[in-house]
Protein backbone atom coordinates (compact mmCIF):
# COMPACT_ATOMS: atom_id res chain seq x y z
CA UNK A 1 0.00 0.00 0.00
CA UNK A 2 1.14 3.50 -0.77
CA UNK A 3 1.42 6.27 1.77
CA UNK A 4 -1.81 7.52 3.33
CA UNK A 5 -3.81 9.45 0.75
CA UNK A 6 -5.79 12.56 1.72
CA UNK A 7 -9.51 12.14 2.37
CA UNK A 8 -11.83 13.08 -0.50
CA UNK A 9 -15.23 12.17 0.89
CA UNK A 10 -16.26 11.75 4.47
CA UNK A 11 -19.60 10.44 5.75
CA UNK A 12 -20.55 11.08 9.34
CA UNK A 13 -23.61 9.20 10.59
CA UNK A 14 -25.64 9.78 7.41
CA UNK A 15 -29.34 8.91 7.61
CA UNK A 16 -31.93 9.03 4.85
CA UNK A 17 -35.63 8.29 5.05
CA UNK A 18 -38.18 7.78 2.29
CA UNK A 19 -41.35 8.36 4.28
CA UNK A 20 -41.24 5.59 6.88
CA UNK A 21 -38.54 3.67 5.07
CA UNK A 22 -35.12 4.06 6.63
CA UNK A 23 -32.91 3.84 3.52
CA UNK A 24 -29.55 4.86 4.99
CA UNK A 25 -28.94 3.95 8.62
CA UNK A 26 -25.94 5.80 9.93
CA UNK A 27 -23.34 5.62 7.17
CA UNK A 28 -19.88 6.54 8.42
CA UNK A 29 -16.68 6.20 6.48
CA UNK A 30 -14.13 7.91 4.28
CA UNK A 31 -13.16 7.67 0.65
CA UNK A 32 -9.63 8.74 -0.18
CA UNK A 33 -8.49 10.95 -3.02
CA UNK A 34 -7.55 9.08 -6.18
CA UNK A 35 -9.11 5.89 -4.94
CA UNK A 36 -11.17 3.42 -6.98
CA UNK A 37 -13.91 2.83 -4.46
CA UNK A 38 -16.88 0.48 -4.79
CA UNK A 39 -20.22 0.38 -3.05
CA UNK A 40 -21.21 -3.28 -3.19
CA UNK A 41 -24.40 -4.88 -2.02
CA UNK A 42 -27.60 -6.58 -3.06
CA UNK A 43 -30.34 -4.50 -4.67
CA UNK A 44 -32.20 -2.36 -2.18
CA UNK A 45 -29.26 -2.11 0.21
CA UNK A 46 -28.96 1.67 -0.24
CA UNK A 47 -25.80 1.80 -2.37
CA UNK A 48 -27.39 3.81 -5.16
CA UNK A 49 -29.09 6.07 -2.64
CA UNK A 50 -25.72 6.73 -1.03
CA UNK A 51 -24.20 7.53 -4.43
CA UNK A 52 -27.05 9.92 -5.17
CA UNK A 53 -26.55 11.72 -1.87
CA UNK A 54 -22.94 12.32 -2.91
CA UNK A 55 -24.09 13.71 -6.27
CA UNK A 56 -26.68 15.87 -4.53
CA UNK A 57 -29.74 14.31 -6.17
CA UNK A 58 -30.98 13.15 -2.77
CA UNK A 59 -30.90 15.18 0.41
CA UNK A 60 -30.00 13.57 3.71
CA UNK A 61 -32.07 13.72 6.88
CA UNK A 62 -29.25 13.52 9.36
CA UNK A 63 -25.47 13.52 9.40
CA UNK A 64 -22.80 15.19 7.30
CA UNK A 65 -21.29 14.54 3.89
CA UNK A 66 -17.99 16.32 3.25
CA UNK A 67 -16.41 16.45 -0.18
CA UNK A 68 -12.81 17.68 -0.27
CA UNK A 69 -13.22 19.20 3.17
CA UNK A 70 -16.44 21.08 2.43
CA UNK A 71 -19.81 20.33 3.97
CA UNK A 72 -22.26 19.55 1.14
CA UNK A 73 -25.38 20.26 3.23
CA UNK A 74 -26.53 23.27 1.22
CA UNK A 75 -24.66 22.65 -2.03
CA UNK A 76 -26.88 21.84 -5.03
CA UNK A 77 -26.08 19.04 -7.45
CA UNK A 78 -25.16 21.42 -10.26
CA UNK A 79 -22.33 23.04 -8.29
CA UNK A 80 -20.86 19.97 -6.58
CA UNK A 81 -17.40 18.88 -7.72
CA UNK A 82 -18.81 15.51 -8.77
CA UNK A 83 -20.01 14.13 -12.08
CA UNK A 84 -21.99 11.00 -12.68
CA UNK A 85 -22.22 8.21 -15.22
CA UNK A 86 -25.82 7.02 -15.04
CA UNK A 87 -26.98 3.44 -15.23
CA UNK A 88 -28.99 4.30 -18.34
CA UNK A 89 -26.09 6.52 -19.47
CA UNK A 90 -28.61 9.37 -19.89
CA UNK A 91 -27.22 10.37 -23.28
CA UNK A 92 -29.21 13.35 -24.57
CA UNK A 93 -30.93 11.81 -27.59
CA UNK A 94 -31.50 15.07 -29.44
CA UNK A 95 -27.83 15.99 -29.53
CA UNK A 96 -24.79 14.72 -31.40
CA UNK A 97 -22.01 12.86 -29.61
CA UNK A 98 -19.91 16.03 -29.56
CA UNK A 99 -22.75 18.13 -28.18
CA UNK A 100 -23.32 15.55 -25.47
CA UNK A 101 -19.68 15.49 -24.44
CA UNK A 102 -19.39 19.28 -24.56
CA UNK A 103 -22.64 19.89 -22.69
CA UNK A 104 -20.94 20.58 -19.37
CA UNK A 105 -18.69 23.21 -20.96
CA UNK A 106 -21.64 25.38 -21.96
CA UNK A 107 -21.33 27.61 -18.91
CA UNK A 108 -17.56 27.35 -18.59
CA UNK A 109 -15.38 30.22 -19.79
CA UNK A 110 -13.37 29.66 -22.94
CA UNK A 111 -13.63 30.15 -26.67
CA UNK A 112 -15.53 27.92 -29.05
CA UNK A 113 -12.22 26.55 -30.34
CA UNK A 114 -10.98 25.69 -26.84
CA UNK A 115 -14.19 23.82 -26.11
CA UNK A 116 -14.10 21.97 -29.42
CA UNK A 117 -10.54 20.93 -28.62
CA UNK A 118 -11.54 19.76 -25.14
CA UNK A 119 -14.38 17.69 -26.64
CA UNK A 120 -12.03 16.12 -29.17
CA UNK A 121 -9.55 15.26 -26.41
CA UNK A 122 -12.24 13.77 -24.21
CA UNK A 123 -13.51 11.63 -27.08
CA UNK A 124 -10.00 10.46 -27.85
CA UNK A 125 -9.46 9.57 -24.20
CA UNK A 126 -12.40 7.16 -24.26
CA UNK A 127 -11.48 5.76 -27.67
CA UNK A 128 -14.14 7.53 -29.72
CA UNK A 129 -11.91 9.80 -31.76
CA UNK A 130 -13.78 11.31 -34.70
CA UNK A 131 -17.25 10.36 -33.43
CA UNK A 132 -18.17 13.95 -32.55
CA UNK A 133 -20.66 14.54 -35.34
CA UNK A 134 -22.48 11.21 -35.02
CA UNK A 135 -26.03 11.13 -33.74
CA UNK A 136 -26.02 9.96 -30.13
CA UNK A 137 -28.91 7.54 -30.65
CA UNK A 138 -27.03 5.61 -33.31
CA UNK A 139 -24.38 4.34 -30.87
CA UNK A 140 -24.01 0.87 -29.40
CA UNK A 141 -24.24 0.25 -25.66
CA UNK A 142 -20.50 0.29 -25.15
CA UNK A 143 -20.10 3.46 -27.18
CA UNK A 144 -22.89 5.18 -25.26
CA UNK A 145 -21.11 4.39 -22.08
CA UNK A 146 -17.89 5.89 -23.40
CA UNK A 147 -19.78 9.05 -24.37
CA UNK A 148 -21.25 9.19 -20.85
CA UNK A 149 -17.73 8.81 -19.42
CA UNK A 150 -16.26 11.50 -21.65
CA UNK A 151 -19.14 13.83 -20.82
CA UNK A 152 -18.65 13.34 -17.08
CA UNK A 153 -14.86 13.63 -17.17
CA UNK A 154 -14.63 16.72 -19.39
CA UNK A 155 -15.34 18.96 -16.40
CA UNK A 156 -12.45 17.36 -14.51
CA UNK A 157 -14.52 16.58 -11.41
CA UNK A 158 -12.90 15.70 -8.10
CA UNK A 159 -15.09 12.63 -7.90
CA UNK A 160 -16.58 10.51 -10.67
CA UNK A 161 -19.70 8.60 -9.67
CA UNK A 162 -20.58 5.45 -11.60
CA UNK A 163 -24.03 3.95 -11.07
CA UNK A 164 -23.86 0.31 -12.22
CA UNK A 165 -22.36 1.46 -15.51
CA UNK A 166 -21.51 -2.03 -16.74
CA UNK A 167 -24.73 -3.83 -15.93
CA UNK A 168 -26.29 -3.20 -19.34
CA UNK A 169 -23.34 -4.61 -21.28
CA UNK A 170 -22.79 -8.21 -22.35
CA UNK A 171 -20.19 -10.24 -20.49
CA UNK A 172 -17.36 -9.77 -22.95
CA UNK A 173 -17.93 -6.04 -23.28
CA UNK A 174 -18.25 -5.77 -19.51
CA UNK A 175 -14.85 -7.33 -18.90
CA UNK A 176 -13.33 -5.13 -21.56
CA UNK A 177 -14.82 -2.00 -20.00
CA UNK A 178 -13.63 -3.06 -16.54
CA UNK A 179 -10.07 -2.88 -17.81
CA UNK A 180 -10.77 0.38 -19.64
CA UNK A 181 -12.19 1.94 -16.49
CA UNK A 182 -9.22 0.90 -14.38
CA UNK A 183 -6.85 2.29 -17.00
CA UNK A 184 -8.82 5.50 -17.27
CA UNK A 185 -8.89 5.95 -13.52
CA UNK A 186 -5.13 5.55 -13.30
CA UNK A 187 -4.69 7.97 -16.19
CA UNK A 188 -6.84 10.81 -14.84
CA UNK A 189 -6.21 10.16 -11.15
CA UNK A 190 -9.73 11.17 -10.20
CA UNK A 191 -11.55 9.45 -7.33
CA UNK A 192 -13.96 6.89 -8.85
CA UNK A 193 -16.92 5.63 -6.87
CA UNK A 194 -18.58 2.61 -8.44
CA UNK A 195 -21.94 1.21 -7.43
CA UNK A 196 -22.33 -2.46 -8.25
CA UNK A 197 -24.12 -5.57 -7.13
CA UNK A 198 -21.54 -7.75 -8.86
CA UNK A 199 -19.02 -9.09 -6.33
CA UNK A 200 -16.55 -10.09 -9.01
CA UNK A 201 -16.65 -6.66 -10.58
CA UNK A 202 -16.04 -4.96 -7.24
CA UNK A 203 -13.21 -7.31 -6.27
CA UNK A 204 -11.53 -6.93 -9.65
CA UNK A 205 -11.73 -3.19 -9.99
CA UNK A 206 -11.57 -1.56 -6.59
CA UNK A 207 -8.87 -0.30 -4.28
CA UNK A 208 -11.39 -0.47 -1.46
CA UNK A 209 -14.95 -1.70 -1.15
CA UNK A 210 -17.82 -0.87 1.17
CA UNK A 211 -20.16 -3.85 1.45
CA UNK A 212 -23.67 -2.67 2.29
CA UNK A 213 -26.71 -4.46 3.65
CA UNK A 214 -30.00 -2.84 4.64
CA UNK A 215 -28.76 0.74 4.61
CA UNK A 216 -25.63 0.05 6.61
CA UNK A 217 -21.99 -0.55 5.74
CA UNK A 218 -21.25 -4.07 6.87
CA UNK A 219 -17.55 -3.87 6.09
CA UNK A 220 -15.25 -1.33 4.48
CA UNK A 221 -11.94 -2.79 3.40
CA UNK A 222 -9.66 -3.58 0.50
CA UNK A 223 -10.57 -6.62 -1.64
CA UNK A 224 -7.89 -8.79 -0.06
CA UNK A 225 -9.09 -8.18 3.48
CA UNK A 226 -12.71 -8.48 2.44
CA UNK A 227 -11.98 -11.82 0.90
CA UNK A 228 -9.62 -13.21 3.50
CA UNK A 229 -11.22 -11.78 6.59
CA UNK A 230 -14.87 -10.99 6.09
CA UNK A 231 -16.26 -9.24 9.14
CA UNK A 232 -19.46 -11.20 9.29
CA UNK A 233 -20.92 -14.40 7.95
CA UNK A 234 -23.22 -12.31 5.74
CA UNK A 235 -20.28 -10.53 4.11
CA UNK A 236 -18.48 -13.82 3.60
CA UNK A 237 -21.58 -15.31 2.03
CA UNK A 238 -22.03 -12.34 -0.29
CA UNK A 239 -18.42 -12.01 -1.40
CA UNK A 240 -17.91 -15.50 -2.71
CA UNK A 241 -19.19 -19.02 -2.90
CA UNK A 242 -18.07 -20.22 0.47
CA UNK A 243 -18.08 -23.36 2.50
CA UNK A 244 -19.35 -22.76 5.99
CA UNK A 245 -18.33 -25.33 8.57
CA UNK A 246 -20.08 -25.15 11.92
CA UNK A 247 -17.53 -25.32 14.72
CA UNK A 248 -17.26 -24.83 18.44
CA UNK A 249 -14.48 -22.67 19.84
CA UNK A 250 -12.45 -24.73 22.26
CA UNK A 251 -9.99 -22.01 23.19
CA UNK A 252 -8.75 -18.69 21.89
CA UNK A 253 -5.43 -17.08 22.60
CA UNK A 254 -4.86 -13.79 20.78
CA UNK A 255 -5.57 -14.37 17.10
CA UNK A 256 -5.37 -18.12 17.39
CA UNK A 257 -8.77 -19.71 17.64
CA UNK A 258 -8.94 -23.36 18.32
CA UNK A 259 -12.18 -24.83 17.10
CA UNK A 260 -12.95 -28.41 17.91
CA UNK A 261 -10.25 -29.90 15.70
CA UNK A 262 -7.84 -27.99 13.40
CA UNK A 263 -6.72 -24.41 13.76
CA UNK A 264 -7.60 -21.41 11.63
CA UNK A 265 -7.35 -17.63 11.74
CA UNK A 266 -9.92 -15.85 13.84
CA UNK A 267 -13.15 -14.95 12.20
CA UNK A 268 -15.65 -12.59 13.75
CA UNK A 269 -18.61 -14.92 14.08
CA UNK A 270 -16.52 -18.05 13.96
CA UNK A 271 -17.61 -18.93 10.45
CA UNK A 272 -14.51 -20.67 9.23
CA UNK A 273 -13.46 -20.83 5.64
CA UNK A 274 -11.27 -23.46 4.04
CA UNK A 275 -7.99 -21.54 3.70
CA UNK A 276 -7.16 -22.43 0.09
CA UNK A 277 -10.31 -24.15 -1.06
CA UNK A 278 -11.02 -24.55 -4.75
CA UNK A 279 -14.25 -22.52 -4.45
CA UNK A 280 -15.41 -20.08 -7.11
CA UNK A 281 -14.79 -17.23 -4.71
CA UNK A 282 -11.11 -17.92 -4.77
CA UNK A 283 -10.94 -17.86 -8.50
CA UNK A 284 -12.77 -14.57 -8.55
CA UNK A 285 -10.35 -13.05 -6.17
CA UNK A 286 -7.38 -14.13 -8.22
CA UNK A 287 -8.89 -12.61 -11.31
CA UNK A 288 -7.96 -9.14 -10.14
CA UNK A 289 -4.27 -10.03 -10.09
CA UNK A 290 -4.52 -11.83 -13.41
CA UNK A 291 -6.41 -9.05 -15.05
CA UNK A 292 -4.16 -6.26 -13.86
CA UNK A 293 -1.04 -8.22 -14.75
CA UNK A 294 -2.32 -9.02 -18.21
CA UNK A 295 -2.88 -5.37 -18.94
CA UNK A 296 0.31 -4.15 -17.27
CA UNK A 297 -1.59 -2.34 -14.58
CA UNK A 298 0.20 -3.86 -11.61
Amino acid sequence: MTAEKPTMIEFKDVHKYYGDYHALRGITGTIKAGEFFSLLGPSGCGKTTLLRTIAGFEGIDQGVIMIDGKNMANVAANVRPTNMVFQSYAIFPHMSVGENVGFGLRKEPGTREDKAKAVAEALEMVGLKGYGLRAAHALSGGQRQRVALARALILKPKVLLLDEPLSALDKKMREHMQVELIKLQRQVGITFILVTHDQEEALVMSDRIAVMFDGEIAQLADPETLYRRPATRKVADFIGTMNFIPATIVSEIGDEVKPGGGSAPRNADAALRRPEGPGAGNRRHHRRGDLLRRHDLL
Binding site: M84, S88, H94, E108, L155
Partner: protein, 269 residues
Protein backbone atom coordinates in the same frame (compact mmCIF):
# COMPACT_ATOMS: atom_id res chain seq x y z
CA UNK B 1 -52.95 -14.11 -44.07
CA UNK B 2 -56.35 -15.72 -44.11
CA UNK B 3 -59.13 -13.96 -45.92
CA UNK B 4 -62.45 -13.33 -44.24
CA UNK B 5 -64.79 -11.91 -46.89
CA UNK B 6 -67.45 -10.91 -44.39
CA UNK B 7 -64.98 -8.93 -42.29
CA UNK B 8 -63.49 -7.32 -45.37
CA UNK B 9 -66.89 -6.25 -46.57
CA UNK B 10 -67.69 -4.88 -43.14
CA UNK B 11 -64.45 -2.90 -43.06
CA UNK B 12 -65.14 -1.50 -46.51
CA UNK B 13 -68.69 -0.54 -45.61
CA UNK B 14 -67.49 1.02 -42.38
CA UNK B 15 -64.92 3.19 -44.17
CA UNK B 16 -67.45 4.21 -46.78
CA UNK B 17 -69.95 5.16 -44.10
CA UNK B 18 -67.25 7.17 -42.33
CA UNK B 19 -65.70 9.01 -45.24
CA UNK B 20 -68.33 8.82 -48.00
CA UNK B 21 -70.32 11.80 -46.73
CA UNK B 22 -67.18 13.91 -46.60
CA UNK B 23 -66.61 13.14 -50.29
CA UNK B 24 -70.03 14.60 -51.02
CA UNK B 25 -68.84 17.96 -49.74
CA UNK B 26 -66.52 18.84 -52.64
CA UNK B 27 -68.87 17.19 -55.14
CA UNK B 28 -71.77 19.50 -54.30
CA UNK B 29 -69.51 22.48 -53.67
CA UNK B 30 -68.67 22.46 -57.38
CA UNK B 31 -72.21 21.53 -58.50
CA UNK B 32 -74.06 24.20 -60.42
CA UNK B 33 -77.36 23.96 -58.55
CA UNK B 34 -78.94 25.49 -55.46
CA UNK B 35 -80.38 22.09 -54.62
CA UNK B 36 -78.07 19.62 -52.97
CA UNK B 37 -79.17 16.50 -54.80
CA UNK B 38 -78.22 14.18 -57.64
CA UNK B 39 -78.08 14.29 -60.62
CA UNK B 40 -75.25 16.82 -60.78
CA UNK B 41 -75.92 19.85 -62.94
CA UNK B 42 -72.51 21.12 -64.04
CA UNK B 43 -69.27 22.63 -62.81
CA UNK B 44 -69.17 26.02 -61.13
CA UNK B 45 -67.02 28.10 -58.80
CA UNK B 46 -69.96 30.32 -57.89
CA UNK B 47 -70.33 28.88 -54.39
CA UNK B 48 -66.70 29.55 -53.61
CA UNK B 49 -67.15 33.12 -54.87
CA UNK B 50 -70.24 33.51 -52.71
CA UNK B 51 -68.37 32.11 -49.74
CA UNK B 52 -65.49 34.56 -50.19
CA UNK B 53 -67.86 37.49 -50.66
CA UNK B 54 -69.67 36.80 -47.37
CA UNK B 55 -68.50 39.48 -44.90
CA UNK B 56 -70.03 37.73 -41.89
CA UNK B 57 -68.43 34.45 -42.83
CA UNK B 58 -65.04 36.08 -43.06
CA UNK B 59 -65.57 37.67 -39.67
CA UNK B 60 -66.68 34.29 -38.25
CA UNK B 61 -63.64 32.51 -39.65
CA UNK B 62 -61.37 35.19 -38.27
CA UNK B 63 -63.00 35.01 -34.81
CA UNK B 64 -62.80 31.21 -34.81
CA UNK B 65 -59.14 31.36 -35.72
CA UNK B 66 -58.44 33.76 -32.83
CA UNK B 67 -60.40 31.55 -30.44
CA UNK B 68 -58.80 28.31 -31.61
CA UNK B 69 -55.25 29.68 -31.48
CA UNK B 70 -55.80 31.16 -28.01
CA UNK B 71 -57.44 28.00 -26.70
CA UNK B 72 -54.75 25.75 -28.14
CA UNK B 73 -51.96 27.92 -26.68
CA UNK B 74 -53.54 28.31 -23.24
CA UNK B 75 -54.61 24.67 -22.92
CA UNK B 76 -51.20 23.41 -23.99
CA UNK B 77 -49.35 25.72 -21.58
CA UNK B 78 -51.66 24.70 -18.73
CA UNK B 79 -51.31 21.09 -19.85
CA UNK B 80 -47.52 21.31 -19.68
CA UNK B 81 -47.69 22.52 -16.08
CA UNK B 82 -50.25 19.94 -15.00
CA UNK B 83 -48.62 17.02 -16.81
CA UNK B 84 -45.18 17.91 -15.52
CA UNK B 85 -46.49 18.21 -11.97
CA UNK B 86 -48.38 14.94 -12.13
CA UNK B 87 -45.50 12.97 -13.64
CA UNK B 88 -42.65 14.42 -11.63
CA UNK B 89 -43.85 15.51 -8.23
CA UNK B 90 -45.77 14.20 -5.27
CA UNK B 91 -47.91 16.68 -3.41
CA UNK B 92 -50.86 16.53 -1.03
CA UNK B 93 -54.20 16.16 -2.77
CA UNK B 94 -52.59 15.17 -6.07
CA UNK B 95 -55.16 12.52 -7.00
CA UNK B 96 -58.25 14.70 -6.46
CA UNK B 97 -56.59 17.69 -8.15
CA UNK B 98 -55.67 15.67 -11.24
CA UNK B 99 -59.15 14.16 -11.20
CA UNK B 100 -60.75 17.60 -11.23
CA UNK B 101 -58.54 18.69 -14.13
CA UNK B 102 -59.55 15.62 -16.15
CA UNK B 103 -63.22 15.75 -15.17
CA UNK B 104 -64.49 17.93 -18.08
CA UNK B 105 -63.48 15.04 -20.34
CA UNK B 106 -66.45 13.02 -19.11
CA UNK B 107 -68.73 15.84 -18.01
CA UNK B 108 -71.50 16.62 -20.51
CA UNK B 109 -70.50 19.82 -22.26
CA UNK B 110 -74.05 21.10 -21.96
CA UNK B 111 -73.75 21.14 -18.20
CA UNK B 112 -70.41 22.95 -18.26
CA UNK B 113 -71.78 25.50 -20.72
CA UNK B 114 -74.95 26.13 -18.72
CA UNK B 115 -73.12 26.36 -15.41
CA UNK B 116 -70.55 28.76 -16.84
CA UNK B 117 -73.28 30.91 -18.39
CA UNK B 118 -75.12 31.17 -15.09
CA UNK B 119 -71.96 32.08 -13.23
CA UNK B 120 -70.83 34.63 -15.82
CA UNK B 121 -74.20 36.32 -15.89
CA UNK B 122 -74.55 36.41 -12.10
CA UNK B 123 -71.03 37.78 -11.65
CA UNK B 124 -71.72 40.29 -14.38
CA UNK B 125 -68.97 39.44 -16.82
CA UNK B 126 -70.12 40.40 -20.31
CA UNK B 127 -70.10 37.60 -22.89
CA UNK B 128 -67.40 37.94 -25.53
CA UNK B 129 -64.84 35.95 -27.46
CA UNK B 130 -62.91 35.85 -24.23
CA UNK B 131 -65.62 33.98 -22.36
CA UNK B 132 -65.78 31.46 -25.22
CA UNK B 133 -62.02 31.03 -24.97
CA UNK B 134 -62.19 30.52 -21.20
CA UNK B 135 -64.93 27.92 -21.54
CA UNK B 136 -63.17 26.00 -24.29
CA UNK B 137 -59.88 25.99 -22.38
CA UNK B 138 -61.75 24.12 -19.65
CA UNK B 139 -62.82 21.51 -22.20
CA UNK B 140 -59.48 21.25 -24.01
CA UNK B 141 -57.09 21.17 -21.06
CA UNK B 142 -57.86 17.52 -20.17
CA UNK B 143 -56.90 16.48 -23.71
CA UNK B 144 -53.68 18.48 -23.47
CA UNK B 145 -52.89 16.94 -20.07
CA UNK B 146 -53.54 13.42 -21.36
CA UNK B 147 -51.26 13.86 -24.38
CA UNK B 148 -48.53 15.68 -22.48
CA UNK B 149 -48.56 13.25 -19.55
CA UNK B 150 -47.53 10.45 -21.87
CA UNK B 151 -44.89 12.71 -23.41
CA UNK B 152 -43.43 13.54 -19.98
CA UNK B 153 -43.67 9.93 -18.84
CA UNK B 154 -41.51 8.74 -21.70
CA UNK B 155 -38.81 11.19 -20.64
CA UNK B 156 -36.00 9.45 -18.74
CA UNK B 157 -35.61 11.16 -15.37
CA UNK B 158 -31.87 10.68 -15.42
CA UNK B 159 -31.57 12.95 -18.49
CA UNK B 160 -32.57 15.89 -16.31
CA UNK B 161 -30.30 14.76 -13.51
CA UNK B 162 -27.44 14.43 -15.98
CA UNK B 163 -27.98 18.02 -17.14
CA UNK B 164 -28.06 19.30 -13.56
CA UNK B 165 -25.02 17.20 -12.76
CA UNK B 166 -23.23 18.97 -15.62
CA UNK B 167 -23.91 22.36 -14.10
CA UNK B 168 -27.30 23.43 -15.46
CA UNK B 169 -30.00 24.95 -13.27
CA UNK B 170 -33.57 23.67 -13.08
CA UNK B 171 -34.66 26.33 -15.54
CA UNK B 172 -31.91 25.81 -18.11
CA UNK B 173 -32.34 22.03 -17.84
CA UNK B 174 -36.00 22.44 -18.68
CA UNK B 175 -35.17 24.63 -21.65
CA UNK B 176 -32.26 22.57 -23.02
CA UNK B 177 -33.38 19.01 -22.29
CA UNK B 178 -37.02 18.68 -21.30
CA UNK B 179 -38.60 21.08 -23.75
CA UNK B 180 -36.93 19.78 -26.93
CA UNK B 181 -37.73 16.19 -25.99
CA UNK B 182 -41.41 16.75 -25.22
CA UNK B 183 -41.83 19.07 -28.23
CA UNK B 184 -43.63 16.44 -30.34
CA UNK B 185 -46.14 16.05 -27.49
CA UNK B 186 -46.56 19.81 -27.27
CA UNK B 187 -47.23 19.99 -31.02
CA UNK B 188 -49.81 17.19 -30.86
CA UNK B 189 -51.49 18.81 -27.91
CA UNK B 190 -51.61 22.16 -29.68
CA UNK B 191 -53.09 20.70 -32.87
CA UNK B 192 -55.70 18.59 -31.10
CA UNK B 193 -56.80 21.49 -28.92
CA UNK B 194 -56.92 23.71 -32.00
CA UNK B 195 -59.14 21.21 -33.80
CA UNK B 196 -61.44 20.66 -30.82
CA UNK B 197 -61.86 24.38 -30.33
CA UNK B 198 -62.32 25.14 -34.03
CA UNK B 199 -65.43 22.99 -34.44
CA UNK B 200 -66.73 23.28 -30.88
CA UNK B 201 -70.36 24.37 -30.93
CA UNK B 202 -72.07 24.23 -27.52
CA UNK B 203 -69.79 26.57 -25.60
CA UNK B 204 -69.40 28.87 -28.59
CA UNK B 205 -73.20 29.11 -28.74
CA UNK B 206 -73.80 29.51 -25.00
CA UNK B 207 -70.95 31.80 -24.07
CA UNK B 208 -70.65 33.79 -27.30
CA UNK B 209 -71.87 37.36 -27.40
CA UNK B 210 -73.50 37.11 -30.82
CA UNK B 211 -70.28 37.89 -32.66
CA UNK B 212 -70.11 35.34 -35.47
CA UNK B 213 -68.16 32.17 -34.67
CA UNK B 214 -67.65 29.69 -37.50
CA UNK B 215 -69.32 26.59 -36.03
CA UNK B 216 -72.34 28.56 -34.85
CA UNK B 217 -72.49 30.53 -38.09
CA UNK B 218 -72.41 27.44 -40.31
CA UNK B 219 -75.18 25.80 -38.33
CA UNK B 220 -77.30 28.93 -38.61
CA UNK B 221 -76.76 29.14 -42.36
CA UNK B 222 -78.12 25.63 -42.88
CA UNK B 223 -81.57 27.00 -42.04
CA UNK B 224 -81.51 28.74 -45.42
CA UNK B 225 -81.41 26.20 -48.29
CA UNK B 226 -79.94 28.82 -50.62
CA UNK B 227 -76.91 29.20 -48.35
CA UNK B 228 -76.12 25.49 -48.15
CA UNK B 229 -73.95 25.14 -51.30
CA UNK B 230 -71.69 28.00 -50.10
CA UNK B 231 -71.35 26.25 -46.76
CA UNK B 232 -70.36 23.08 -48.58
CA UNK B 233 -67.71 25.10 -50.39
CA UNK B 234 -66.52 26.28 -46.98
CA UNK B 235 -66.57 22.68 -45.74
CA UNK B 236 -64.41 21.68 -48.69
CA UNK B 237 -61.89 24.34 -47.76
CA UNK B 238 -61.91 23.16 -44.12
CA UNK B 239 -61.33 19.53 -45.14
CA UNK B 240 -58.39 20.65 -47.26
CA UNK B 241 -57.09 22.76 -44.38
CA UNK B 242 -57.36 19.80 -41.98
CA UNK B 243 -55.48 17.50 -44.33
CA UNK B 244 -52.67 20.04 -44.72
CA UNK B 245 -52.53 20.57 -40.96
CA UNK B 246 -52.42 16.84 -40.30
CA UNK B 247 -49.72 16.38 -42.91
CA UNK B 248 -47.57 19.08 -41.36
CA UNK B 249 -48.07 17.62 -37.89
CA UNK B 250 -47.17 14.14 -39.07
CA UNK B 251 -44.09 15.44 -40.86
CA UNK B 252 -42.81 17.07 -37.68
CA UNK B 253 -43.70 14.03 -35.58
CA UNK B 254 -41.76 11.68 -37.82
CA UNK B 255 -38.82 14.03 -38.04
CA UNK B 256 -38.81 14.29 -34.24
CA UNK B 257 -38.79 10.52 -33.90
CA UNK B 258 -36.06 10.08 -36.49
CA UNK B 259 -33.90 12.67 -34.75
CA UNK B 260 -33.89 10.88 -31.40
CA UNK B 261 -33.74 7.46 -33.04
CA UNK B 262 -36.98 6.24 -31.53
CA UNK B 263 -39.24 3.70 -33.15
CA UNK B 264 -42.43 4.90 -34.75
CA UNK B 265 -45.15 3.82 -32.35
CA UNK B 266 -47.91 4.95 -34.67
CA UNK B 267 -49.29 8.45 -34.61
CA UNK B 268 -52.39 9.86 -36.18
CA UNK B 269 -51.39 8.71 -39.65
Amino acid sequence: MKKAPALQAFALFYLLFLYGPILLLPIFAFNDSKVVAFPLQGLTLAWFREMLADQNLRQAAWNSLIIALSVASLSTVLGVFAARASVRYRFPGKAPIMGMIMLPLVLPEMIVAMALLVVLLSVGIPLSLFTVIAGQVLICTPFAVAILTSAFQSLDRSLEEAAMDLGETQVSTFRLIVLPLVMPGIMSSFLICFTISFDEYIIAQFLGSGEPILSVYIFAQFKFPGKVPAMLALGTCLVLFSIILLGVAEYFRRRGIARVGGTNSGGIL
